[in-house]
């Protein structure tokens, strides 16, 4: 409901003429939308209330900058405040004075501790250092097998004992083992519980005492709702955390829990998990998550994703063309390929400002790209000259293209008008206006 938060805010403020200053009631009206957006993003309701209050103080009476509308002004303030809470630049992992450095992962069941442990191991090993994983979850059936399998797949050693051992024992021995084999890092996986209870906290306290970890990281599922802040606070109060890792951010969850937790605990987010593969651990960018929570899309991640699936130079070119809106049908074709390589359309669309609502309204078939295949066929049937300069496409050329691609002249016309819309859209991107009426494009 808020993918178009800035659009909504623009609507709220559209009645106001540029009077130069925002009044209290004007700000309040806009901030109601902001509060709803935060709640929809799973930001804890108390945190949302305090946050909006703070933004209000800053926004009331502030000078509306000439270049932007009052609505965008508020979004800007909201975004800045949010980025500030979420943290500065990505914090590094702490190093122990004497190796091995112990990293201890804690969290509720299903938050992704074991997967994250493996991802961290790979990340650290790629930095050229020796890592040991410790199978400290003796509770969930086959958790030990899971981490052993992951260790084998990644070629990272795993220390484990039988399930008759205790978490404290395994972790203590694990750290000793790391010392013996000269590992620089040791990562302790621990057992989760369904919720905070005495049993788990006691166990974690003991493990902490026995291993003196340099980092005690809470693994949090990005899809968690209002309860996130309750459990994070309990963990923090009881065992003293040093940071967070947000997992499953590759879905479409807004991840508002991150804001609640950082606000209440002041803990930094150290990494985010963005996929099932062991490589899918990324450094955290506060500004991007702020945009995501506000439903403002994530053009930077999109560009990065594009970089992954094509070479750097092409990515720069695409970025330049998106910004300058000078792309032709060749680029359109190229983009169709890239888009399909970048991953599911729904996900890609979700990263473009204003597009997440479109993605939600499309059926899986539409997203899957039967339609894209047809578009591809049409563009393939054009000559290079036509692709670079669509304006020369007269009636007879269009008929030829339709025949060549097994489509109709109407299809060709439709593609051309969609292409024009897209060009217009690109111009809007570069001028920062929210795009409208794009539903037809992917139909």
């Amino acid at each position: 409901m808020f993918e178009a938060l800035s659009e909504k805010l623009t609507a709220v403020f559209s009645r106001l003429t540029a009077r130069g200053r925002l009044t209290e009631s004007e700000v309040d009206e806009g901030l109601r939308e902001v509060r709803l957006a935060l709640l929809e993003a799973d930001v804890n309701f108390k945190v949302a209330r305090d946050f909006v209050q703070r933004v209000r103080e800053r926004a009331v009476g502030s000078q509306v900058m000439e270049s932007i509308s009052p609505g965008q002004q508020i979004v800007k303030i909201v975004h800045e405040e949010m980025t500030a809470i979420l943290g500065g630049e990505s914090p590094k992992l702490a190093n122990a004075a004497r190796p091995p450095t112990v990293l201890m992962l804690v969290g509720l069941q299903g938050s992704g501790k074991t997967t994250t442990a493996a991802k961290l191991a790979l990340h650290l090993r790629r930095g050229g250092q020796r890592v040991l994983l410790v199978a400290g979850d003796l509770r969930r059936p086959a958790a030990v097998e899971q981490i052993e399998t992951l260790g084998r797949q990644l070629d990272v050693p795993v220390y484990s004992e039988g399930i008759d051992s205790s978490a404290v024992q395994v972790c203590r021995q694990g750290v000793q083992k790391a010392r013996d084999i000269g590992a620089a890092w040791v990562i302790l996986d621990t057992g989760g519980r369904l919720h905070i209870d005495e049993d788990m906290m006691g166990e974690l306290e003991e493990v902490k005492k026995a291993t003196s970890p340099s980092e005690l990281l809470l693994v949090v599922d990005a899809m968690t709702g209002q309860d996130a802040v309750v459990s994070a606070q309990s963990f923090h109060e009881r065992i003293g955390l040093t940071g967070l890792i947000m997992t499953k951010l590759d879905g479409d969850a807004r991840g508002g829990a991150a804001l609640s937790i950082t606000q209440v605990t002041g803990l930094p987010i150290k990494f985010i998990g963005t996929g099932e593969r062991a490589e899918a651990l990324e450094t955290f960018h506060p500004d991007r998550l702020a945009s995501r929570i506000l439903g403002m899309g994530d053009i930077l991640t999109l560009v990065e994703r594009a970089q992954e699936s094509m070479d750097q130079q092409r990515a720069k070119e695409l970025e330049r063309k998106i910004r300058k809106a000078t792309f032709d049908l060749e680029d359109f074709l190229e983009q169709l390929h890239q888009v399909r390589r970048m991953g599911p359309m729904s996900q890609v669309l979700g990263m473009i400002p204003g597009f997440s609502s479109i993605a939600r309204r499309l059926s899986p078939e539409e997203l899957e790209g039967e339609h894209l295949k047809k578009l591809e066929a049409i563009v393939y049937s054009m000559t290079p000259k036509e692709r670079r300069n669509p304006d020369i496409l007269n009636g007879s050329r269009r008929r030829r293209i339709a025949r060549g691609s097994g489509t109709t002249p109407q299809d060709v016309n439709q593609l051309l008008s969609q292409f024009r819309q897209m060009q217009k859209l690109m111009k809007q991107f570069s001028s920062g206006k929210p795009p409208r009426g794009l539903m037809g494009m992917f139909r």
């Binding site: 086959a142 399998t149 905070i196 879905g251 969850a253 599911p344 899986p364």
Partner: protein
Amino acid sequence: MFNLLGRRDKLKAGLKRSRESWFARIAQIVQRPRLDEALWEEMEELLISADVGVATTARLIEKVRKEAAAQGLRDASSVVELLKEEMVSLLSVVDAGVRPGLSPTPGGPFVILTIGVNGAGKTTSIAKLAHYYQEQGSRVVLAASDTFRAGAIEQLQVWGQRLGVEVIAHGPGGDPAAIAYDALEAARARGAEVVIVDTAGRLHTKLNLMEEMKKIARVLSRLDPQAPHQVLLVLDATTGQNGLAQARSFSQAVGCTGVFLAKLDGTAKGGIVVAIVQELGLPVLFIGTGEKAEDMAPFEPQEFVDDLFSPVS
């Protein structure tokens, strides 16, 4: 539902503090002399803090407001009761058609396909379902179709051993649909009444993985056109507003028939299911509470709503 499972006592100690503050708050709401704006706001907050979500909360409050005005209600406590009734009726509305699905069909193996995002609690919930049907005297076969996550097959096998239930498994990386197919065939051969298919956790935004789900359903229907009889979405009770997107996408892909609300014994209330029922009409069929196989019960709207308004926090 805590009564049902006899867990209330265990929980009591840890909850004392929050219980007191909660009672204070409820008391505060109930003792209000008149129905002012603040009361409605408090009720809104209560629902939102339980993850019911903004849109559904607004709709509920709006409806209760109108009804309260129509009935001429003056005190806060009857308004709270009205809200609870409204929620119970919303959550009950879809019961009739789907309840028969709770028990195995007489005709042949009743096939339950479980789906859900990573870490929702599918495997544990399957163990609970298996135990539940065993208790009812059914023979159960499990299909280890999560061939992706490391250790998933072993995890199901451990449960199988504990419960004395046969688990059909191929190796890691095997074809999930083929395993489901084999399990259904095996169940037929052994005269089992229930087949429960475990699947790899997948985010609902991954289209290729959704295709894989469809394939499992398709392959099962080759053996039995009615199969899978039940497609259960396993949803973590701590899930926030994303739960609605999950339910929507999974339903679109494979046609969910119900929700298994897992991990409901934490401080989270699982209010997102209210939004799911409201928006999609997808019934909640079971709740999972603890870590043991018996920690499960059929969903009861009245208990759920009472719990949502109760001081477990």
